[in-house]
Symmetry: C2
Amino acid sequence: MAADIKRFRYGDPIETDAVTVGIPVSPGDPRGLKVDANAKTMSCVMSEDTIVYGLGETVRGINKRGWLYKSFNADDPHHEEGKNSLYASQNFILLDDGTDCIGYYFDHPGAVYFDIGYTDIDTCTVSFDDMDLYVYAIEGDTPLEIVREFRRIIGTSYIPPKWAFGYGQSRWGYKCAKDIREVADKYDELDIPIDMIYMDIDYMTDFKVFTVDPEKFPNTADFVAEMKARGIHVVPNTDPGVKIEPGYSVYEEGLSGGHFCKKEDGTELVAAVWPGKIHFPDFLNSDARRWFGDKYKVMTDLGIDGFWNDMNEPAIFYTDEILNGVYEELEELKGREMDIWGFFKFKELMESIDNNPEDYRRFYHDMDGRKVRHDKVHNLYSFNMTKAAGEAFKRNNPGQEILLFSRASFIGAHRYGGVWTGDNMSWWSHLLLNIKQMPSLNMTGFLYSGADTGGFGADTTEDLMMRWIEFSMFTPLFRNHSALGTREQELYRFKRKEDFRHLIELRYALIPYIYDSFVKAAKENDMYIKPLAFDYRSDQNCRDIEDQLLVGDSIMIAPVYEQNAKGRFVYLPENMKFVRFRSAEDYDTEILNKGTHHIDLALNEVAVFIRPGHRLPLAKPAKRVGDIDFENLKYIEG
Amino acid sequence: MAADIKRFRYGDPIETDAVTVGIPVSPGDPRGLKVDANAKTMSCVMSEDTIVYGLGETVRGINKRGWLYKSFNADDPHHEEGKNSLYASQNFILLDDGTDCIGYYFDHPGAVYFDIGYTDIDTCTVSFDDMDLYVYAIEGDTPLEIVREFRRIIGTSYIPPKWAFGYGQSRWGYKCAKDIREVADKYDELDIPIDMIYMDIDYMTDFKVFTVDPEKFPNTADFVAEMKARGIHVVPNTDPGVKIEPGYSVYEEGLSGGHFCKKEDGTELVAAVWPGKIHFPDFLNSDARRWFGDKYKVMTDLGIDGFWNDMNEPAIFYTDEILNGVYEELEELKGREMDIWGFFKFKELMESIDNNPEDYRRFYHDMDGRKVRHDKVHNLYSFNMTKAAGEAFKRNNPGQEILLFSRASFIGAHRYGGVWTGDNMSWWSHLLLNIKQMPSLNMTGFLYSGADTGGFGADTTEDLMMRWIEFSMFTPLFRNHSALGTREQELYRFKRKEDFRHLIELRYALIPYIYDSFVKAAKENDMYIKPLAFDYRSDQNCRDIEDQLLVGDSIMIAPVYEQNAKGRFVYLPENMKFVRFRSAEDYDTEILNKGTHHIDLALNEVAVFIRPGHRLPLAKPAKRVGDIDFENLKYIEG
């Protein structure tokens, strides 16, 4: 059967702009879904063999069965497996029992709840606060066919500049031009390739968006040019919250233009983020979006050609409304003896301050005439920030390729930029989570993606950093990023510098393969990185294995993600050539037979398996992407 | 070479009572350790092949390399891999590079810091706030020989009553006799075996230790007898904090006897825990220990014959000293605009309230004449609470077998009781942590041990519960326990009741093997559960694999600990008989060859591998341990 999509309408949906292809509304309900309008639920039965793919960037496995997920973009760095929401909301699921498969996209801008075998181990139930939405049911012969068809209707994925496939170094804590220059110098001294150095929030004047602190960066344009002359792109962080400060032009313009989100009473919402008190631009309004988008020109005029949009769930540290309430309740507890219940109340009060649901119900958007309370369209906020930037770049920087990626996301944003998976931790379990998130993000169009390699929060270790690099070297976005107060983790901080250099060089040798596979996947609505079962669907082991992935058409990877492991088990669905890389020039190859193996992989070794009939091109390692010779490649035959 | 132990003395050690065998002090330093008295460190080099075993109950793997651990008993339920301290402190490490091995025991009652390849990937450094301690260096031909020798000097492990090998159901939330009776009824209705029902803090009057609320339990002795008549032991929670309440006899006695911990000025420390304001008994004083121990008689006189000692790190919710300081600082922040730094300060203030290090420096112990500040001997607190109970049982209940286990622990306590691994979470990663903690606990003498099966905090899932049971059925302590406010997880709450019944019945069928292996390990200072490498040391794969374990002499287990996995990889160091159990009566067997396999294991299936030349006895399933026929066993030959 050819792939087929049907659209169904429930209630009075808000148009999200996630889908770009017009599809007539079908009568009835989607095949396989039992719709209960009173309960605001849609549910389906899962057989024992059913795998549920999807949900993009969230917790747990590639198979999403056995948990509760809430699509409601959340600023939660401490995202262990007990959490329900992460930074992103991608409401696409795909059920496959091995013979029958179907995909569903729930096009709804507010909270969506997925109970995938949690309450009842055999039932998948999707529910809504308001059942106003479109549901797309996508049929096809295989999961991959369904993904491709879904990707067709949501539009082509963003393709970044080629240099954005290089290695990037970041840290919350680089304070000035000197700090960034030092990073570049250290990498160059050690001959470790690098294409990007990121500027986290420190570069701004008092955390004011679209400013650069003139004391830290006395002549920004010259500095950016100096870095670019040595082949390094400086990529700043951009935040939605605009500091309330009379005289600050972005604040003044936003206020006089009426571009900020307002409360019920028509006054601007005041929330606090990095700079203290701020207003939020109303990205859901086309005038505000255009206004904010044009502000990026302040930065591109300085020569900057890459941005990461941060904090755009949007994260809220506090509002006075919540904080004053907390202070009142604290006053009541003061001096009292707290037993268990008092103590718990105290703790809960403290935890209620940031990202409080009440705050998300406190302000409104003007969706070009339609006034909508924020919580009803919460998941569109980051999408429209990304869109504001992406549209502005087309308008103001025609012909220029600009790097753009975001923390929060919603399907649709993939047309304008990529994502990183937010503030993870330096945990081995977050390396594994990274492995499992990548194919799910690919299904929903976010091809340019990757995690904070080495981990953002908490202290990393040299071995975690090395193993993480051995995975991240296959993700399109490849960035080492860490938080203020954690162990410094630039690669030159560690002991085995030579091994790190070899690994980054190997990434650069692989860029022709990675880039070509990426562009092909973007243009053909295909997946750059996918689960084994997408290509070996009838192989039961492949349906089960979540820690080996297919990258492009030619290779399978099997990263090590356990501390102190000197190897790992690997399953080959067919005979493949196992390449054990120590560097782009130093590797062994061996044909391994279909079946189960335990392979040794020393800390500095990377396993790549070339599929039969395929070959893996390797470029001569270069220090910058721009210096890679894409024409003269060496091939390892499969 | 025969096993050999040397003792070394540094500074002025506090006697901990961890070691029971007198060993003369040797001159010089232990082999392999570089001692730096100024830096208060002892360090050694690790080769690439060195595995570092030990540290008992803590985070991360069986091989402890690559992290920082701090021995300082901590009440931290949110113990992901970024943490450094858990509930227990067992300062024993064992380095093995495959040919040379050596064990070190750092006999120190305060904080001990282990940097095992964190700062320098090739160096293991142990450090102290005060370098007053004994170091025991244990030599032997194999890791197992070293463990046995170490166990010999710390004394024979506690052996609980046989019924304590049954299945136990617990939940913070059983409020009264009716609740507990209902649990028993439901298990009996479904024919699921059970031997214990636990009472968490709710059974007390206002959380006062050694009280039973007469409204909830109108006639406790009758109720305990009624439960015992149906073969179920009621096991209450016991806490160290004594509520400050004039007229409450335990408080009055403790105060008049001078049994509570005092501050510098000689007045009793006031801290807050469950009941509100409390005093802490000074378990490090022999009079206080005897006094508190005798209080257990209040409970044993009611027919109770099992106890779990909780909160004995000791956990502190707050003291007025800290809380008042926090209120003062909050007052200063009030009404101010908080930018990032203000907000972080606010958050830190809130997190400083419980288990504050300042509070642990605020009070003292009277160690039979020697006044010692609490933080210097922090890790002895729970040990001496366990000892108080264990000694009292010998004194007051001669000949009676009483179940006793503790949350916090220190080596030495293993002679008086077992441990559970504290307040874990309903996370798949905590099931894996449980697997990795068990052999480490065994090395340090804590044989009677197990985790809160299904997870204490957070919401469990049916599949997690089932997979966890499939591992916990091999741990001596086998308890399902969960926290107030989380999903209820008694087995009858789930859908696949029949599968759960079969699994618990299988545990009961295995009890003859488990019990005999346990008692043999205890008596011979051996390990009940151990890493593969302890028996297959020259097999590199066995040195690497941490998710398969040897249980007793005859079997290897390979639990599934990944959500939605329908099987797993397994490595066999020699040919073994693979038994795929669905129940004690329903299983397949198959000889699997030495090497690597991927085996299918449905959600209700348990993998056991019988070693060649061994056999696995199975009893006829019974509903109570007391009804198991230990004589008429069926054997599966290996």
